[in-house]
C-alpha cells in the first residue's frame, strides 16, 4: 500500500468516525458557553442513538430510503426534551451541574435499555435495514488526490456535521444571539444588567446541546453500529466532551479535535491493515484522545480556559 493509498483509506474513515463526535461536541460548546456544564452529553447521546434506531425500525415502511434522516429529527426532539431535565435542575433548581449530569447519564442508559428490553424482550434491538449510504460527490470526486480523499464515498451526515460546526461558529461569534450566549457564560450579572434574560439563554443553550447530542447519537447508531445495545455508545459522549475541551470551547476547535479523535478511533479499528501503523499497539490509539485532553487542560498544549461562569448557577441579586 503506498502512502497515498493509506491516506485514501484512512481519511474517509476518520471523517466517518468523527461525524457523531462533532455534533455532540458542538452541543457541548453551546451549553458550556452559556455557563452550564453538561456532563450528561453521554446520556443524551445514548438516548439519541436509541430513538434513532427505534424510529428507524418502526417507520421504515413509511419513509423508505429517507428513514434515517427522519429518525435524526425524532432523536433530536426526544434528546432535546430529555435535556430539559438537566436545564431545570441546573438553571432553575440550582443543582450541582456535574451531579445532575451524572444523573442524566445514568438515566439515559437506564431508560434506553429498559425500553429495549420491554419492546424487544432482549438486550439489543434488531438491525436496521435503511442505513446512511455513501455516495460520490459529482465533479469534486474527480479531482486528483483531493477527490478520493475527501469527496469519494462520503456520508451526507459527515457533510452535515461539518456544516453544523461552521454554522455554530457563525452563530456564536457573528450574531447578537451568540454574543448574548457568551456574555451569559462569562459574566451573567453584567449580561442581566444589560437586559439579557440569563435564564432563557441558558435554557435555549442546554436544549440545543441536548438536540445536538441526540443528533450525534442517532448518526452513530444509524451509520456505525446499525443497532442499539448497552455497548453502542460506550463513552462516545465523554469523548465528545473531551473534544470540546481539547478544542478550547470553540466550535471550530471542537470540530478539529473531533476530527482528530475520529482519526485516532479509525486508526485503532482499521490500523491493522496499514503498514507501520499496525506495529503500534492499539492500546496507545485507544488512550490517545484522553491523554491529549489531560495535556490540553493542564496547559501543555496552549492554555484552555473554561467560560468563567461555567458551573455556577445564576442567582439574581447575589454578588
Amino acid at each position: 500500500m503506498s502512502f497515498l493509498d493509506v491516506l485514501y483509506f484512512i481519511i474517509p474513515s476518520a471523517i466517518f468516525y468523527a461525524a457523531p463526535l462533532i455534533f455532540v461536541a458542538i452541543g457541548g460548546v453551546f451549553s458550556e458557553r452559556s455557563g452550564v456544564i453538561n456532563i450528561g452529553l453521554e446520556g443524551l447521546m445514548v438516548m439519541g442513538a436509541f430513538i434513532g434506531i427505534l424510529f428507524n425500525l418502526m417507520f421504515v415502511d413509511t419513509f423508505g430510503a429517507m428513514t434515517p434522516w427522519v429518525s435524526l429529527i425524532a432523536a433530536m426532539l426526544v434528546s432535546g426534551l430529555f435535556s430539559v431535565m438537566h436545564a431545570v435542575a441546573s438553571i432553575s433548581f440550582r443543582a450541582d451541574q456535574t451531579i445532575s449530569g451524572v444523573a442524566i447519564n445514568m438515566l439515559g442508559v437506564a431508560i434506553a435499555l429498559f425500553s429495549v428490553k420491554m419492546i424487544y424482550n432482549k438486550g439489543q434491538t434488531d438491525y436496521i435495514q435503511e442505513r446512511f449510504i455513501r455516495f460520490d460527490i459529482p465533479l469534486l470526486s474527480d479531482i486528483p488526490v483531493i477527490g478520493p480523499m475527501f469527496f469519494k464515498d462520503v456520508y451526507g451526515t459527515s457533510i452535515l456535521a461539518i456544516g453544523v460546526a461552521v454554522m455554530a461558529w457563525f452563530v456564536i461569534y457573528k450574531t447578537p444571539f451568540g454574543l448574548r450566549l457568551r456574555a451569559v457564560g462569562e459574566h451573567p450579572m453584567a449580561a442581566d444588567t444589560m437586559g439579557v434574560n440569563v435564564t432563557k439563554m441558558r435554557y435555549i443553550a442546554v436544549i440545543l446541546s441536548g438536540a445536538l447530542a441526540g443528533l450525534g447519537g442517532a448518526v452513530y447508531s444509524q451509520s456505525i453500529s446499525g443497532e442499539f445495545s448497552h455497548t453502542t455508545i460506550n463513552g462516545q459522549g465523554f469523548m465528545a466532551l473531551a473534544a470540546m475541551i481539547f478544542g478550547k470551547w470553540h466550535p471550530l476547535g471542537a470540530l478539529g479535535a473531533a476530527l482528530f479523535f475520529g482519526f485516532a478511533q479509525a486508526l485503532s479499528i482499521v490500523g491493522g491493515q496499514i503498514p507501520y501503523v499496525k506495529e503500534v499497539p492499539t492500546y496507545f490509539l485507544h488512550i490517545l484522545p484522553y491523554a491529549l485532553t489531560i495535556l490540553a487542560v493542564a496547559g501543555f498544549i496552549g492554555k484552555a480556559n473554561a467560560p468563567k461562569a461555567s458551573g455556577i448557577p445564576y442567582i439574581k441579586g447575589k454578588r
Binding site: M85, F93, I99, V102, M106, L107, M118, Y283, I294, V297
Partner: protein, 348 residues
C-alpha cells in the same frame, strides 16, 4: 424545623420520590409496580443466599461511596472512582496470582497493592488540581478511560493474550467458608469488615486528627485555610490520594472477594458512578455513606430478581437510582417547599 431535621428529610424525601417515579414508570410501561417491588424485596431479603449476596454487593459500594465522600469534604469531586477501582482490581489480582506467600503476608500485600494503585491513579488529578488549577472532574473522567484501556491491555499481557488473569492463589483470597455455610454458598466474603473498618477510619481521620481538620477547612474555604497557614496544595493532593486508596480497595473487594480474578472489560462496572449516588445520599458523612451503600447496594442486587419474578427489566432500578440522585441534587427545591410548609404551620 431545625436544620438537622431538614438535612435528613431531603434524602428521605428524594428516596420516596425516586421509588414513586419508579412505580409510575412501571405502571406506564404496563407492568405491575406492586409485583415489581415485591420481587425487588424478595431479591434482597428472600433467603439466606440473597441476603449474603446483597451484603456482598454493599461492600464495594461502601468503599466507592467513601471515596467520593472523602474528596467532597475537601471540595473535590472525584468522578474517577471507576478508574481507580479498575486499577485497584487489577493490582490486587496481579499480586494474588504472581506471588506465593503465607496468607498473613499475601492477603495484606494484595489489599495494600490495590489501595496504592488507586491512590497513584488519583494522585495525577490531585497534582494537576493543586499545581495547575486543572478541574479534577475533567481529568478524572479522562483517567477513567485510560484506566479501562490500560488494565485491559495489562490483563492481556499477564494472561498471554487472554481475557482473564485466572484465579488468584487461595492465600490472597477473602473468601469465607463461614459466610458460605450460613448464606447457602453466596459469594459474601470478609471484605465487608475491611469496608466497615474504612468507614471508621474516615470518621477518625476527619473528626479526630489535625489532618482531617485541615482537609475539611480547605473544603470550606481555600483562601481562609491558606491565610491560616495551611498548605492547601498538599491537602488537595492528600485528599485525592486517600479517596483513590478507598476506591482501589473497592477494586480489591471485587478481585480478592467476589470474582477472584480480573477480566477484560468492555465498559465500566458502574460501581464508581453509583458511589457518587451513595456519597450524595449520605451527605458525605461516614454514617451517611453506610445508609447510602446499604440502600443502593440492596436495590442493585435485588433488582436482579425482578426479571424472573415479575418480568420487569433490571434497568428500572437504575432509573430509580438516577431519579434519587436527581432529587438530592435539586435539594434546594425540596428545602424551599419544606420551609414554606413550615411557615404555614407556624402562621396557624
Amino acid at each position: 424545623m431545625s436544620n438537622r431535621v431538614v438535612n435528613i428529610l431531603v434524602p428521605v424525601i428524594s428516596v420516596i420520590l425516586g421509588l414513586l417515579v419508579g412505580a409510575i414508570v412501571m405502571l406506564v410501561s404496563g407492568y405491575d409496580p406492586v409485583l415489581g417491588y415485591t420481587a425487588l424485596w424478595n431479591g434482597i431479603f428472600g433467603d439466606a443466599y440473597a441476603i449474603g449476596e446483597t451484603i456482598r454487593q454493599i461492600t464495594p459500594y461502601l468503599l466507592a461511596g467513601l471515596s467520593v465522600a472523602f474528596a467532597f469534604r475537601t471540595g473535590l469531586f472525584n468522578i474517577g472512582v471507576e478508574g481507580q477501582l479498575l486499577v485497584g482490581w487489577f493490582a490486587a489480582s496481579y499480586v494474588g496470582i504472581a506471588f506465593d506467600l503465607p496468607m498473613y503476608i499475601h492477603l495484606p500485600f494484595a489489599i495494600i497493592a490495590a489501595a496504592l494503585a488507586g491512590a497513584a491513579w488519583a494522585f495525577i488529578p490531585g497534582l494537576l488540581k493543586a499545581k495547575l488549577q486543572v478541574h479534577e472532574v475533567i481529568v478524572t473522567i479522562m483517567m477513567n478511560y485510560i484506566a479501562l484501556h490500560t488494565t485491559n491491555a495489562m490483563i492481556k499481557v499477564v494472561s498471554d493474550g487472554g481475557d482473564n488473569t485466572g484465579t488468584i492463589n487461595p492465600s490472597a483470597s477473602l473468601k469465607s467458608a463461614f459466610f458460605e455455610s450460613i448464606t447457602d454458598y453466596s459469594r459474601l466474603h470478609y471484605g465487608i469488615f475491611i469496608a466497615l473498618a474504612m468507614v471508621l477510619l474516615m470518621w477518625f481521620i476527619l473528626e479526630k486528627t489535625t489532618t482531617g481538620y485541615e482537609l475539611k477547612a480547605v473544603g470550606f474555604n481555600k483562601h481562609a485555610s491558606e491565610y491560616a497557614g495551611m498548605n492547601v496544595n498538599k491537602n488537595i493532593i492528600l485528599s485525592m490520594v486517600i479517596a483513590g486508596a478507598f476506591a482501589g480497595l473497592a477494586g480489591a473487594m471485587e478481585a480478592l472477594g467476589t470474582f477472584q480474578y480480573a477480566n477484560v472489560k468492555g465498559g465500566f462496572t458502574g460501581i464508581g458512578f453509583d458511589g457518587i449516588a451513595v456519597a450524595l445520599l449520605g451527605a458525605n458523612t461516614p454514617l451517611g455513606v453506610i445508609f447510602g451503600a446499604v440502600l443502593f447496594g440492596s436495590l442493585k442486587y435485588g433488582a436482579l430478581n425482578m426479571p424472573n419474578e415479575a418480568g420487569i427489566p433490571v434497568e428500572i432500578v437504575s432509573i430509580v437510582i438516577a431519579i434519587i440522585i436527581f432529587f438530592v441534587a435539586c435539594g434546594y427545591v425540596i428545602r424551599y417547599f419544606l420551609e414554606k410548609a413550615n411557615k404555614k404551620k407556624e402562621a396557624k
